[in-house]
């Protein structure tokens, strides 16, 4: 299914009377993709009711508009569409892609799920039990356990916040699930509406027709609520989670980075690409290529509460883990010395190329449009973004990096048979 190049005309951005932001890009293709982002994520779970959003998202698909769970799933399947999405820390997403003739029906079904869910009482206990099973399943995966522990240490909940925040997985916590009631979860649905929500849509439609289609299907969505949850970061924290019989020791470093609306955003992206963007990147080279210490090593950005954070990960067998951690820290600590011209050029090319790759598939483009509007406040055309990346200079990036040492405030969380940190400090655990 060839997808024609994106037109030079920029994406269209509209706000429906009810508050939903719609961002549309026309592509000459037989397919369509949309990505609806509702600004309610697991961080919005009420404190003490962790798992509310995760259970609700599953419950929504247990029937809508008079259809039972099976009829609803069959209705999506009859369209042949591919469905994606899920609950993230800050938002819940519903993504659908398929053939253009089925777009209206797919939008209408999505609206039914959000606006007219059945929320059958007899499914509630099953869904909370499935969430409990999912949490226990995370216990069987060292990498998932580490990720959860790292969130708890770096982003523990401020005691005064009414929200559960970022310290738990979307499935919740055992205690949180025990505290859920059908009524409480139903009330949570009132947050899911047009306010703060963004629909990214890519299809071969006249823009006016696209707008009319979205208004006719999603325009009746309830108002909803958009309340960002702050993510206070706990610098310098350190913790080790024992995993006596594990094959490897897993390492996680979290450090402050740059937010999407900060002037240094792109410079930070270039630095992260030089650090972990490919097989010649610093971490891959130093940890894997040069020393053979690990198979998996990476650093990636995470965005929480409007801020950016660097999250680095590696895993090595226990006796090699201290060296892996040391090399990881050394590589992060030498960022202030700046990139070389060659590293800069390579990272910039990688970043610019990834923009094209990211926009190539309909699903990728719909997701990027939604993300742009949610994070940056406006869609970024492929061409403009490439130009901005091309306009970066080594001086700019290195000026930014000269004061950017992620290890200065980093939290370190490890999981494995032994603590790989040089000076284990139990007072911080």
């Amino acid at each position: 299914m060839p997808v024609r190049p994106p037109p030079s005309s920029p994406a269209h951005l509209w706000t429906l009377p009810g508050g939903l932001t719609v961002v549309f890009e026309r592509r000459h293709t037989p397919g369509f993709a949309f990505d609806l982002r509702v600004p309610v994520g697991s961080a919005h779970d009420p404190a003490g009711a962790e798992g509310t959003g995760g259970v609700l998202e599953e419950w929504l698909f247990k029937g809508a508009a008079g259809m039972d769970a099976r009829a609803l799933q069959d209705a999506f399947d009859d369209l042949g569409v591919r469905r994606g999405g899920g609950v993230g820390p800050e938002a819940t997403r519903i993504g659908v892609s398929g053939l253009r003739a089925d777009l209206r029906a797919a939008l209408a079904l999505t609206a039914d799920v959000l606006n007219r869910p059945e929320l059958p009482e007899d499914e509630f206990e099953i869904l909370t039990d499935l969430a409990r099973q999912d949490i226990e399943g995370l216990e069987d995966s060292p990498a998932d356990r580490l990720a959860t522990r790292a969130r708890q240490v770096a982003f523990s909940r401020p005691p005064a916040s009414p929200y559960a925040g970022y310290a738990h997985p979307a499935s919740g916590t055992t205690d949180g699930l025990d505290a859920l009631t059908p009524q409480g979860v139903r009330e949570h649905l009132t947050r899911y509406g047009q306010t703060g929500s963004v629909l990214g849509l890519v299809a071969d439609l006249d823009p006016g027709d696209a707008l009319a289609l979205v208004e006719g299907t999603l325009g009746g969505l309830r108002p909803g609520l958009d309340e960002p949850v702050p993510a206070p970061f706990h610098a310098h924290a350190q913790a080790h989670e024992p995993h006596p019989d594990g094959e490897q020791t897993h390492l996680s470093l979290t450090a402050p980075g740059v937010g999407p609306r900060d002037a240094h955003w792109l410079a930070w992206q270039v630095a992260l690409t030089a650090l972990s963007g490919g097989s010649a990147s610093r971490l891959f080279h130093a940890v894997r290529e040069e020393r053979g210490l690990a198979y998996a090593v990476s650093a990636s950005p995470i965005l929480l509460g409007g801020h950016g954070y660097l999250s680095a990960y590696a895993a090595s067998t226990p006796d090699r883990a201290p060296e892996t951690l040391q090399v990881l820290r050394e590589e992060l600590a030498r960022l202030p010395q700046g990139l070389t011209q060659a590293e800069f050029e390579r990272a910039r090319t990688g970043l610019a190329t990834s923009v094209i790759f990211g926009a190539e598939s309909l699903r990728g483009r719909a997701h990027a449009l939604t993300r742009d509007v949610a994070l940056f406040g406006h869609p970024r055309s492929v061409q403009t973004l490439r130009q901005s990346i091309q306009a970066l200079t080594l001086t700019h990036v290195n000026d930014f990096l000269s004061t950017y040492d992620p290890t200065r405030d980093a939290t370190t969380v490890t999981l494995g048979p032994s603590d790989p940190t040089p000076h284990p400090d139990p007072t911080h655990a």
Binding site: M1, D77, G80, E247, G278, E289, Y295, G350
Partner: protein
């Protein structure tokens, strides 16, 4: 509709080109007709080890420079090893086509230096350790070992800690020399490029590719397929991870698409396993898929559950498979066929997505099927076809492996 160009170069290397003037990128891959299936028990892991070593550079270009060149393409280069295929691929913007072809080709001429083998051995041992911590991988490895018996398709692709520790540089070089000859290699290219220029380039630059040895005939022995349930006890796990398998159809089989539809009816996202095991809360995952090899196939699936629910879950799982004939209705078959056809179309929307479908199909069957061909094959499937799959592949005898904090099941 893009046209597929299929050439055999004088060296014996195959060239498969599917240009698409509307694409925004170009993707290329060397598809090598070799994999873990060809390894002796002592050499397990050799194919995967070689895949890692190709990224260590050639006689002319060192590892660091090779990796830099791959990153210069935009960071979309990678490789994978399976039982029957080893694939090296990259994608970039059309203006970097010469660098893409030169770099990917340089990758295929590895120096296989002793020092690189030593360093990379450590990386692979870490990779084995990583998977050994993942219950789903542990249970699948044991399942395949039990199902295939001493058939090489049952060997772990990564090898074991012992074999990877003891594979010598000479053994690895011998494997590479024998199995990377021109007759085994297909260069597939999709996306935006000029097929005539690309053919000229290939005729010039790939003409001296060494011959190597032909792909050995696959081991056509049937699997052992024991009718048993093995339990691997691990008191540190919280859940039971169960996997089960039974015979399916090969990649060549005319009813291959019907087999995928049957797997979807039973174990797809809207399949009966979902409604009987997940929707009821018995399991938090349950599925079934159809896997194809060049001369074999399997229906492989499983579930995860609480330890005390595992016996009931397994009984239900078996019952669903035994009653699979009741699921094959005209409406259900049409719905599943449409979903799989649309998925095929969506996968083909980028050159990278299309590259794998084109290259893997050719490696497995020698056929060059267009996206339209693939879609039509799904649309043509009838109720009778799916019923015939079930007749050929009865599901009442399963090889089962369960891993978790239980002593038996």
């Amino acid at each position: 509709m893009p046209e597929i160009h299929h050439h055999t170069l004088d060296s014996g290397l195959t060239l498969l080109l599917e240009p698409d003037p509307d694409a925004q990128t170009i993707a290329a891959g060397y598809f090598v007709n070799t994999g873990s299936r060809e390894e002796t028990p002592q050499d397990m892991g050799a194919s995967h080890f070689i895949e890692h070593l190709l990224f260590k550079g050639s006689d002319e270009v060192g590892a660091r420079e090779l990796n830099e060149r791959l990153d210069d393409l935009g960071g979309h280069a990678n490789a994978f090893t399976s039982e029957e295929a080893t694939v090296y691929h990259a994608a970039t913007l059309p203006e970097h086509t010469p660098e893409l072809l030169h770099t990917l080709t340089e990758l295929m001429r590895p120096a296989l230096r002793d020092t690189d083998i030593h360093t990379e051995r450590g990386v692979i041992l870490e990779e084995i350790a990583m998977y050994a911590d993942q219950p789903s991988v542990r249970v699948t490895d044991q399942l395949r070992a039990d199902y295939w018996g001493d058939h090489p398709l049952g060997q772990p692709i990564l090898g074991t800690t012992d074999t990877v520790t003891t594979l010598t540089p000479d053994t690895l070089r011998a494997h590479h020399h024998a199995r990377y000859g021109a007759q085994r290699v297909t260069l597939a290219v999709t996306g935006q490029f000029d097929p005539h220029q690309l053919t000229q380039w290939a005729e010039h630059h790939l003409k001296d590719w060494p011959t190597g040895t032909p792909t050995p005939h696959p081991d056509t022995r049937p699997p052992t397929w024991p009718d048993h349930t093995r339990t691997l006890t691990d008191p540190d796990l919280t859940r039971v991870h169960l996997a089960a398998t039974s015979p399916g159809l090969s990649a060549h089989h005319p009813l291959r698409e019907a087999a995928h539809i049957l797997a979807d009816l039973i174990g797809g996202e809207n399949g009966t396993l979902y409604w009987t095991l997940i929707d009821t809360g018995t399991c938090d995952s349950a599925d079934l898929a159809h896997l194809e090899y060049q001369h074999h196939g399997t229906f492989e699936g499983g579930f995860t559950s609480d330890p005390d629910r595992a016996p009931q879950a397994l009984a239900t799982y078996r019952q669903v498979l035994r009653d699979a004939h009741t699921l094959i209705t005209p409406h259900a078959v049409r719905r599943a066929a449409r979903k799989l056809a649309v998925s095929t179309l969506l996968r083909a929307e980028t050159p990278q997505g299309r590259l794998f479908t084109l290259g893997m199909e050719y490696l497995a069957t020698g056929r060059t099927l267009s996206t339209d061909d693939l879609v039509e094959r799904y649309e043509a499937v009838t109720v009778q076809d799916v019923q015939e799959v079930l007749r050929l592949c009865p599901m009442d005898r399963l090889t089962v492996v369960a891993l978790g904090p239980i002593s038996e099941l």
